[in-house]
């Protein structure tokens, strides 16, 4: 399933609801465009909701890292919400589980942004 991305406000935090696959090509490109677009709009508190993302390849992992770094470099924060088992396992074996701030419920995630 191609990646879809929509965003909404939760107080000062922008929640990006993603669904589909984040893979080489259109999926990774859409994630990149979405995060860069939010930064251009000065939205620097970004929560990626991955509840409906069931597949990520190495290109998608790279794009998550790229977005994380881009937001950090502008003084913001990018966090992850509701990982599926496959995505969680991938982030664990690549040691990225310790790099990202990851939450299982949205309220806690939104409150965690300062």
């Amino acid at each position: 399933m191609p990646l879809r991305a929509t965003h909404r406000d939760a107080g000062p935090v922008t929640v990006v609801d993603l669904s589909g696959r984040i893979t080489l090509g259109d999926g990774s490109a859409l994630l990149r465009k979405t995060v860069r677009g939010l930064l251009e709009d000065q939205r620097k508190k970004i929560l990626l909701n991955l509840a409906d993302v069931d597949y990520i390849d190495s290109s998608g992992i790279g794009e998550l890292v790229s977005g994380f770094t881009a937001v950090k470099n502008q003084g913001g924060d990018l966090k992850l919400l509701q990982l599926t088992k496959k995505v969680r396992d991938l982030l664990q074996i690549t040691k990225l589980y310790t790099v990202f701030d990851i939450y299982t419920d949205e309220d806690s995630a939104v409150r965690s942004f300062r």
Binding site: T23, L24, S58, T69, K86
Partner: protein, 161 residues
């Protein structure tokens, strides 16, 4: 080829669509061979990463070059070959993506994932001088792979990417 072995091969264009095509083809073969859902996911991901490696690093995304994908099903295992038309590489030269200094790298995790998800993995020089990835997974009825997808092995730190 031993009795009962099956062979399938396909030549792919150096384009993004080939990655999905290769994954879908191998998933069908793996399902038909009796692998469970989690192992199919791991096999599909490994093929995907192998073809991405050939597309991007081996063939440098040059459309005039080809990617050769071959599958062998022996009585013991599913063997996958991915051959590119690049200049080849050795695993020793691939940075470890788990090293602290590489954790925030935006690339370089494909080889690591293939090593983690398959039972056997190596890179050899192909017939045309390019890199040939050869990886395999034991067929599930031999006990080498499990229905819960724990049939892979840990990638050796310092050697994956």
């Amino acid at each position: 080829m031993t009795a009962g072995a099956k062979h399938l091969e396909i030549t792919l264009e150096t384009q993004v669509e080939s990655v999905n095509l290769a994954e879908e083809m191998c998933l069908r073969v793996a399902e038909a061979a009796g692998f469970g859902e989690d192992d199919c996911y791991r096999i599909g991901m490994s093929v995907r990463e192998g073809v991405i490696n050939a597309f991007h690093y081996g063939n440098q995304e040059r459309p005039e070059k080809k990617i050769y994908l071959a599958l062998d099903i022996t009585p013991e295992k599913l063997i996958i070959h991915v051959l590119d038309e690049g200049t080849g590489f050795t695993l020793e030269d691939v940075p470890d993506p788990l090293a602290e200094e590489n954790l925030l790298s935006t690339s370089g995790r494909g080889i690591f994932l293939m090593r983690a998800f398959m039972d056997e993995f190596e890179v050899v020089q192909g017939r045309n001088g390019g890199a040939e990835i050869v990886m395999s997974k034991k067929l599930p009825n031999l006990g080498g792979s499990s229905p819960n997808g724990q049939g892979g092995r840990e990638a050796a730190p310092g050697q994956g990417a």
